[in-house]
């Protein structure tokens, strides 16, 4: 196990290096720059700004400097907010995105797994079709439709939850539900398919024959195996939850990392863009590793490679 984890970490290092390199060169080769705004800046000031951030140096020198500061885990100063570093921005924005993502993940699991099990038990009955249709409707409505709809109903009409901003638990409810819905749908489908297969297997018949109650058969014997695909889905889901929250953060005016990223991309804030992408890459690689470990714990048939 330790060997497996170590190997994966060693493999990840060149990937992170690759991400840093590609983002660096994509950004530099693209036209435009952080200090070329519509407002005309006197050329002297422009040159001073460029010099201050080392943008007047040859590209390779800049690249070398960037890499060496990365080794010190320093993502550099933000060009757009000169008083803050990229590390500050991530420290500020990420906990917000993380809370939102985790809340959404919990909601997605709580909605998706029971729905999937229910549909599998009622396989081919009207109720299965109905559950799966409702579930499918969930994927067919994009979050930026569901979000405003929820705001319209629960904030502007019923006054149950605040429509936007961040800080209080009640402000977490609507964005988390909006973010969770599409994932609960995927989880429901995965659970249903897997449960259908498992409910046909011998060990389930054995459990029934030994007199286990239907409830116990479903939730203990069958679900244990039925959750495997859900677990492997969680790796990419964490990825999607973090990136999907870009839109949610925009709708609900939440000061998360996704919003900082989009803003910094539009204002060509090189360092913030590179820093955020790099940060998320490390996060996702970590999340996938955790999922792989979990998978092996849940399914002892898988060998460590």
């Amino acid at each position: 196990m330790t060997k497996f984890i170590l190997r994966r970490i060693v493999i990840s290092i060149p990937v992170i290096f690759l991400v840093a390199t590609t983002t660096f060169f994509i950004l530099r080769l693209a036209p435009g720059g952080p200090f070329l705004s519509e407002r005309a800046i006197p050329p002297e000031i422009q040159a001073n700004l460029q010099a201050k951030y080392g943008l007047d140096q040859p590209l390779l020198v800049q690249y070398g400097r960037y890499l060496s500061s990365l080794l010190r885990l320093d993502l550099g100063p933000s060009y757009k907010y000169p008083e803050r570093t990229v590390n500050d921005i991530i420290r500020e924005g990420f906990p917000v995105s993380l809370q939102l993502g985790l809340a959404a993940l919990v909601i997605a699991l709580l909605l998706g797994i029971p729905a999937g099990v229910f549909a599998a038990v009622k396989h081919r009955a009207v109720l299965d079709r109905l559950t799966m249709s409702v579930v499918m409707l969930g994927i067919s409505l994009p979050t930026f439709v569901v979000g405003p709809m929820l705001i319209f109903v629960f904030s502007l009409t019923l006054y149950w939850f605040p429509p936007a901003l961040w800080g209080e638990p009640s402000q977490l409810v609507l964005p988390a539900i909006t973010l969770a819905l599409p994932y609960s749908v995927y989880i429901a489908r995965l659970t249903r398919t897997e449960m259908l297969e498992i409910l046909d297997q011998d060990y389930i018949r054995t459990a029934r024959a030994k007199g286990a109650g239907e409830f116990r058969v479903l939730w203990r014997h069958a679900l244990n195996g039925g959750l495997l695909p859900v677990v492997s889905f969680l790796g990419p889901a964490v990825a999607d939850l973090t990136t999907g929250s870009i839109v949610i953060e925009k709708i609900f005016a939440i000061p998360g990392l996704g919003r900082f990223f989009v803003e910094s991309a539009f204002s060509r804030d090189y360092t913030t863009v590179m820093g955020t992408v790099l940060f998320y890459s490390v996060l996702l690689i970590g999340a996938n590793l955790v999922v792989d470990i979990l998978y092996r714990v849940l399914d002892p048939r898988i060998e460590y490679r």
Partner: protein, 299 residues
Amino acid sequence: MKIRVASIPQLAPDPVISSLSPRAVVWSRLSRDPWMMTCAIALGAVLLSTILAPWIAPYPYDQIELRLGASAPSWNHWMGTDTLGRDLLSRCFYGGQISIAVGVVGTLVSLVIGVLYGSISGYRGGRTDELMMRFVDLLYSLPYLFLVIILLVFFSSSILMLFVALGLVQWLTMARIVRGQVLSLKNAEFIQAARVSGTNDIGILFRHLLPNMAGPIVVYATLTVPSVILQEAFLSFLGLGVQPPRSSWGTLISDGAGVMGLFPWLVFFPAIALAVVLFALNFLGDGLRDALDPRQRHD
């Protein structure tokens, strides 16, 4: 000594084997299912309306009538007009063209890359396969939407860039599926027969392997189209998709969502159009997968 030739046992016609080809079985399963047919018809209708947009749209999509402002649905404008007085029905028809085109082209890009990559990886096997699949694993753990956003912001957000960027995101899963199929098929007897009869690798791949894995590929492609359409909509919502005055369903919805409290029809109709197409494609994809599943042949 006399050699006794064993008599060849007479093969009795098996009453269970039906004469239907696999394709006919799939078709009969789908066509017997009223849900599937409803989805197919709905999808066909929407597709047709977007293709025929230049002839059936009552107004040009960019004809501004400020005097009308945002007017509610009426006889002259079935879906109402947007804040600039443009006819929403016409804009939905034309928007569909772009949304569906992005979905289809993005899927095709991912299909070409994924099938080539996956089949090479599976067919070569061994170290090549190991290396190529590790690479896919690694790419899986990249924040894609972020990279797409970077590409679109820093280069132009033209439709062409959109096609390429979205296709590049989608090919990974396709590559995995194709590779798995190739691995399971490449030692089958009919492939060995083809090899013995002198077919080269390319011939085996395209003439023999690909046709036999069309099922899973078609199913996954059907499910990819809606996800690409949805991603285009996401990007449009962030202001990175199709640029005005052209619009996709995504841009229409995102424009409408801003004024939802005042003019709800502006978000309602494009959202319905998008939802119908996504719902139908997802449902058909799932149905196809079930119909193609050989384990369900008996019912």
